[in-house]
Symmetry: C2
Subunit: 238 residues, 2 copies
Amino acid sequence: MPRAIAARAPLSRDVVLTAAVALADERGLEGVSMRHLADALGVVPMALYKHVGDKEDLLDGMVEHLLTGLGVGGTTGHQADRTADHTSKPLPWREAVTGPIHGVRALHRTHPWFRRVLETRQLRTPAVLAHMERLTSAFLAAGFTPDLTHHVMHLLGNRIWGFSPELFNEAGGPPTRRSTAPTPDPTDYPGILAVAADSRTRRPTATSCDEDGEFDFALATILDAAERLQRSGWSSPK
Amino acid sequence: MPRAIAARAPLSRDVVLTAAVALADERGLEGVSMRHLADALGVVPMALYKHVGDKEDLLDGMVEHLLTGLGVGGTTGHQADRTADHTSKPLPWREAVTGPIHGVRALHRTHPWFRRVLETRQLRTPAVLAHMERLTSAFLAAGFTPDLTHHVMHLLGNRIWGFSPELFNEAGGPPTRRSTAPTPDPTDYPGILAVAADSRTRRPTATSCDEDGEFDFALATILDAAERLQRSGWSSPK
DNA sequence: AGAGTAGGTGTACGATGTACACCACGTCAA
DNA sequence: TTGACGTGGTGTACATCGTACACCTACTCT
């Protein structure tokens, strides 16, 4: 019984979305049900439907909410760009590209659920398009042809979305699920073991990959490659 | 009432997983509920729990099922590798890398739901590790240091999983949802428009991006970059 | 004063995952 | 032959989910 706690301030789409993001942050994405969200707002579940169309629209809204919050200059304090081959100092267009990319990536650090929601969204919302526009126009302004720009956007792929898959260091807690899968035998994977061993000698104290470092390396390498294609006057075959 | 249709063959984990994959293929991922799956098998929902631990385990199993089916040589008929800069012919190690990658990518073409399931899985199952091992050992065998191999795996990122995000050409059907989002104004995105226009002149008949082409281009470019790093004796800083 | 609207309520329904108790059968030891 | 047991399918039951629908209140505008 959501007792109206002394004239609660009225809801709005923005209030709902903010609460939903907070709820997802502390309880995980599964914790975001219309009922829990309504509870958190001191309101009955159906009240939410006056502000969001349905749950899909709520999730859309959460994405939009975070991306919009990025806006101009949401990239402060992030690691500077650097080329991977250390042969030249960063050009200004690279900052124009890495800025928005690091901005979105920061969202992933703050909101671990963000990735999974993004994956299920139709992505042609204004905030998403604005993000793409920032990147696209940065390449065009740097002298990339539209053709090459197009290809480079594909090349950047999920880098645009600010994460590389957490394949290498899962939160490998104790298996709570009644999984039928056998625990794999490490000796079946000598290559992986060799890489892991090498990685351990290189960073003895670390318990997982240097995700930020790997991300920046990948981004820089890809941008280096893009730059090389541009300078060589690349255009698509046929 | 699932009438035992004249001594139905007994279930097994494999039968269940195969049916689940088929169900997902024709009804989409949302259509895969324990009840629907049981129906499709002519069985009561709870019967499934003798073969899969729970729904999470079912989804794990579906991924494992498909990846295992790839096994050795699941890569026939796919486009040959080619370098993006056309300066050298493909080396054998590149086929060893692109083979498994194209194999997984083929799964995405066949099973559109595969991507979304992958995103929600814990990825350290045997089939997943086997896939990674194939790639890792191919790099090591090609003379990449473990250090560089590690970084290149991160660099490949989702390319390992055989897709780049379908950001550019959604199945943009009529909006069935009661979305609150405003339809964006195209003129707000001149860069995107310029790229799209150029793309149209280049492939006038196409209604969407050449996804396979873009994927192959991105993969080749990344592998070119990796090769360059390897030849230059790259090792991680510090 | 009366109509309209924006926003919150209450009830109700169908779908989902799955716990739990049950039972039919085969195999095997006694 | 008997009886115990494990394997696999059944039936019922429950909590939780998204949300349709009818309602009620309070405020604004004519």
